[in-house]
């Protein structure tokens, strides 16, 4: 067996041997570039390494040159609280009192279509290890889910699998799930989006980086054994479309063991606090290939590895397969020799298997031997850092004009006029799956564990306590609107950022940092590439305007299975998921999103513009997508944020809820559902002030609006704050029942009156009825 191994020596002696680079996902010119770098043909092992490291998933080759804008746009002010920026496993943000948090979103889209349960489960596993690798204790997760048409038979398979997988893995890790997103749209039919976010907490002094530093330090692989699962996951699954049928790709999906991961978390945290680790890296996409080349590239010397020392689950694996395997729940650490005994004692205590597979050296090379024969000898930077960068052509597609010209106004979509039509529209909206209660999903996730969850779904943002003695905490929210982004990728990304920012501010937290997960179609198509570039630029500019830095994230491309329709390309709606993290000094003052009590005044902050294009109303009632998305005014967003932060800190705002999908209408019902408290509102003054009609007042999705509830005796405090920050406000009504009303209803004067309990039950039944 070992005699047949393709060694460096053999590669030198057989320069003309044909190599199946295309099957590994490499282009011909990329193969030639590898030969140029090495000055010879690569060995099979080297080819395997380069193929995964240079894959779209690992190298960001299509997006890298554009992602640089996040760095270029960074001001000194934005850098202030940033301890670690893009490029490490996850960004790290200083939140004060010696505490830091790290957070990041990643995609596991392709595996979750092939095998939803394991795909989604290992998506959680992967992002949690990224957070661990920074030296942090993972403290919460969130999931951003997008599936195909709710009535398509296959959607049920993917939804049930993905939700159960996320629940299984997250619940078994003891991580509260504090929120996320759920959307159905036929553009995601063959390309569901399963994104996962993890939040970690650490003391400043516990920060760990991934470099393999310190000559003579031992390289230890620990955790689960290496098996044959997930081989080529990054290069084959995540970096290509599903053109050849999915059956053959199933072995590329990894299988997760959350129990092993939980042990690994506790074991790593004990190792961190014992100070036995000089550098650490998780094994995710591209497995040992990625971990060795990245650790060596980020370190200060070189690295030598004896690959046969890797503990295997399957003894028949070839060295190439060992290098490429994406078996889960593995970590790699650089351990100073004099700390090795202590490291091993901790691993033993947790029954974690270890293998010393190599050493850090001063060679500047990554060399890998297999049973004494050298099979890899490369400059690690050529695999991990200096991977190819493509300036792919991009162009605004012609169909964009077609889409933009067909606005709600031009297409003259019928609006409800009679009370009967208004009630029918209201009932239709309440039953629309994208607006329905997400309880069926979130009830499958543990939100209590660790005892620090302040807010979770259905609040605008998840809030967790970080410090039990001071009440210091963080808020996180993510947002993306694929329909808006389809209409205008630049504005769509800016809108997602504005929404996430405002969601965080709505809890009373101060927004501090951004992570993103850019889900797009095939970058080899000029229109998709244009969407990606526009979205990145829009997001980078938005971050500069709001003065919060992007700390890290992920790009998922090739989400483009399916057939083209009306000349509009077959890719998913471009979906840049933007996550914003904020800090709150005392979580006891965090604002929940619903009506808490009867008799509170309902304020709307911000103006309602006639912005129905791309709205849920246009989709739900008319199946329409066209026109231009709402306009973002970041200055106004910031000012509204200031009102919320001050109001929460001073304690007179009782609760607040951001207005987004489904407009004022949906926000009002979500507030009412929270504690089954109705309200009475009147829209006349709003309509007059903003010069809008009933449909617009109810269903417009103008961004930068928040419902704020205060006690009548505190009315003047809120109005003074609004005046101070120059934020438009209007009182629309009060919460609770009117004295002479028999029922608990949402009563909108002159338009409709709907029983809260019935509506809530209806909303909660929609997802189980579809998917059980």
């Amino acid at each position: 067996m070992t005699n047949l191994v393709d060694t460096v020596e053999r590669a030198l002696n057989t320069p003309d041997r044909e190599q199946a680079y295309a099957q590994l996902g490499l282009q011909e010119q990329e193969y030639r570039q590898i030969c140029n770098i090495l000055g010879r043909r690569p060995t099979d092992a080297e080819l395997a390494m380069y193929s995964v490291m240079w894959s779209e998933h690992c190298s960001y080759k299509s997006s890298k040159m554009h992602l640089r804008k996040f760095g270029v746009n960074m001001t000194e002010n934005m850098r202030k609280s940033l301890m670690v920026g893009m490029g490490e496993n996850a960004g790290v943000v200083d939140i004060g009192d010696g505490w830091a948090v790290t957070f990041k979103i990643e995609s596991h889209n392709h595996p979750s279509f092939v095998e939803p349960f394991q795909g989604a489960a290992t998506g959680i596993g992967g992002i949690v290890r990224d957070i661990m690798a920074m030296g942090a204790r993972p403290v919460a997760v969130m999931d951003q889910l997008r599936f195909g048409d709710v009535d398509n038979e296959d959607t049920k398979r993917v939804v049930n699998g993905a939700v159960a997988g996320i629940g299984h893995y997250g619940n078994c890790l003891g991580l509260p799930n504090i929120g996320g997103e759920l959307e159905f749209d036929k553009s995601y039919q063959g390309n569901p989006l399963v994104n996962a976010l993890c939040l970690g907490v650490l003391r400043h002094e516990d920060l760990h980086l991934s470099g393999a530093t310190g000559h003579g330090n031992q390289i230890v692989l620990f955790g689960a054994r290496t098996g044959g699962d997930g081989i080529g996951g990054a290069s084959i699954l995540a970096s290509d479309t599903f053109s050849d049928g999915e059956e053959t790709k199933r072995p590329s999906v990894q299988v997760g063991d959350p129990f092993m991961e939980k042990i690994l978390i506790e074991c790593c945290l004990e190792m961190f606090s014992a100070g036995v680790i000089a550098g650490i890296q998780d094994l995710g996409a591209a497995g040992i290939s990625c971990a060795t080349s990245e650790m060596a590239a980020m370190g200060d010397g070189g690295m030598h590895v004896n690959l046969e020392r890797v503990l295997l689950r399957d003894s028949s694996l070839t060295p190439e397969q060992i290098l490429m395997s994406e078996s889960q729940e593995r970590m790699m650490a650089a351990v100073p020799t004099h700390k090795l005994a202590e490291f091993m004692a901790i691993a033993d205590r947790w029954d974690v298997e270890t293998a010393i597979i190599g050493q850090v050296n001063g060679s500047g090379r990554l060399t890998i031997d297999y049973h004494g024969q050298q099979i890899v000898n490369i400059d690690p930077r050529t695999a991990a850092i200096a991977s190819p960068v493509y300036d792919r052509p991009y162009k605004r597609p012609l169909w964009q004009d077609y889409l933009n010209s067909h606005s709600v106004q031009i297409d003259a979509l019928k609006r409800p006029t009679t009370p009967q039509e208004m009630l029918e529209t209201a009932m239709k909206m309440l039953q629309w799956p994208n607006l329905a209660s997400k309880k069926w999903v979130t009830d499958q996730y543990d939100r209590y564990v660790q005892g620090n969850t302040v807010l979770s779904m259905p609040d605008d943002a998840g809030v967790v306590r970080i410090d039990e003695s001071t009440g210091l905490g963080v808020a996180i929210s993510t947002d993306s609107n694929g329909r808006f982004t389809k209409l205008d990728p630049r504005e769509g990304a800016r809108l997602a950022l504005a929404e996430a920012y405002l969601n965080v501010a709505t809890t009373g937290a101060k927004p501090l940092a951004v992570t993103d997960c850019l889900n797009f179609g095939n970058p080899e198509q000029t229109d998709t590439m244009w969407q990606l570039v526009e979205a990145i630029e829009g997001l980078a500019d938005g971050c500069r305007e709001l003065e919060i830095p992007v700390t890290g994230g992920n790009v998922s491309l090739y989400n483009s299975t399916g057939s083209a329709e009306n000349g509009v390309n077959s890719s998913i709606n471009p979906t840049p998921v933007v996550g914003v993290l904020g800090v709150i000094e005392n979580v006891a003052k965090a604002l929940p999103s619903g009506f808490l009590n009867s008799g509170h005044l309902i304020f709307q902050l911000g103006n309602t513009l006639p912005e129905l294009d791309g709205s849920v109303w246009a989709d739900c009632v008319h199946g329409h997508l066209g026109g231009m998305p709402p306009i973002v005014d970041y200055d106004m967003i910031k000012r509204i944020g200031n009102v919320l932060m001050d109001g929460a800190r001073l304690g007179f705002i009782k609760s607040a809820h951001d207005i987004s999908d489904g407009g004022f209408f949906q926000a009002l019902f979500e507030c009412a559902f929270r504690r089954q408290i109705g309200c009475r509102v009147k829209l006349d003054a709003l309509k007059r002030r903003d010069n809008i009609d009933d449909t617009e007042a109810l269903f417009s999705e103008s961004v930068g609006r928040v419902l704020v509830m205060v006690d009548p005796s505190d009315e003047k405090f809120l109005t003074v704050l609004c005046v101070q920050y120059n934020v438009p406000y209007i009182i629309l009504g009060t919460t609770g029942k009117h004295v002479d009303e028999p029922e608990n209803t949402v009563f909108v004067e002159g338009l409709f009156e709907i029983n809260v309990d019935n509506a809530k039950n209806m909303s909660e039944d929609i997802l189980p009825n579809k998917f059980e």
């Binding site: 129990f259 029954d351 009830d443 939100r447 209590y448 302040v454 808490l596 504690r675």
Partner: protein
């Protein structure tokens, strides 16, 4: 009874008791004991001392590989005035603890059957011996599953009837307030604890159920059965009442702001019904410590 003169147990009392303890010396204590029946001032002083001792109650919290709610259980113990002591599955000593909690989680990944491997952990041998000797033991969720696997409690927990993991606020009725862990509740009191599990359906043969019912050993019942448990059983106890297992999580309802919602009082996450479980234990230890002087045991005293 002497107990009528004893002041009620409150958390303020615990704080002042701590201070009192610092002032004591052994000679004074012996004097107090000898004069116990003479004045109520002495009784109060002695009671403070005993509370202070109770505040030093050591509650062991066992961590198995895959245990998740150990920190939550430790917080609950702290908030009830006692000291949480971490115990490791591989230890073979309980280290002088006064009670043991087996917290929730997925010990050993629950791969074979929930709790089936944990029962063989070295520490469990000691827990079983101590429980048989009367030490209070509480099993929450996975801990309850482990208690049934060790046969300290009868029955078994199987897959929820709807086949799904469920996480919700669950209302329960407290049926038995005579156990070591439930004396702080009122009989038939309705309480809300978070419930979160995939395998929480209590099952047992008819004979066992009949016996549990006849002996009053059902401790908690679901007011609306969330998982198909027989007779709405959410928690049970052993013959002595010192071992209690339940599926819902009282340790997640012990701190205002992080507790449960209460529809009736319109409170937002202020529900801390779970704290009574842990306070019950503290009271139990106090009165058991007092027993040599007073002849009063925890079963006959209202706290």
């Amino acid at each position: 009874m002497a107990s009528q003169d004893l002041p009620p147990l409150t958390s303020d009392r615990l704080v002042s008791a701590y201070n009192t303890l610092l002032e004591f010396d052994k000679r004074e204590l012996d004097t107090l004991k000898s004069e116990f029946d003479s004045t109520s001032v002495v009784k109060t002083r002695l009671f403070d001392y005993t509370i202070a001792q109770a505040a030093c109650v050591r509650v062991g919290i066992v961590v198995f590989p895959g245990t998740l709610d150990d920190q939550d259980a430790a917080r609950a113990v702290r908030l009830s005035g006692a000291n949480p002591i971490p115990l490791w599955h591989a230890d073979s000593s309980l280290g002088n603890v006064d009670a043991v909690i087996l917290p929730g989680g997925f010990s050993y990944g629950d791969y074979l059957r929930c709790g089936a491997i944990s029962r063989f952990a070295p520490i469990m041998e000691k827990v079983v011996d101590a429980a048989r000797a009367g030490m209070p033991v509480l099993g929450i969720c996975n801990g309850f599953q482990i208690l049934t696997e060790t046969h300290l409690l009868p029955g078994a927990l199987s897959r929820n009837s709807h086949q799904k993991f469920i996480c919700k606020e669950q209302t329960l009725s407290v049926v038995n307030t005579e156990t070591s862990w439930t004396s702080d509740f009122e009989e038939q009191q309705i309480v809300t604890f978070p419930l979160k599990n995939g395998e929480g359906r209590f099952v047992a043969d008819e004979k066992t159920i009949n016996r549990l019912e006849a002996e009053g050993r059902v401790v908690f019942r679901y007011t609306d059965n969330p998982n198909g448990s027989i007779a709405n059983i959410a928690g049970i106890t052993n013959e002595k009442g010192n071992v209690v297992g339940l599926m819902p999580h009282p340790e997640h309802a012990v701190e205002a702001g992080f507790g449960t919602d209460d529809r009736q009082s319109n409170s937002f996450k202020q529900g801390i019904d779970g704290l009574n479980i842990f306070k019950s234990l503290v009271a139990k230890v106090i009165y058991d410590d007092l027993a040599p002087f007073t002849g009063v045991t925890s079963g006959s005293v209202e706290v």
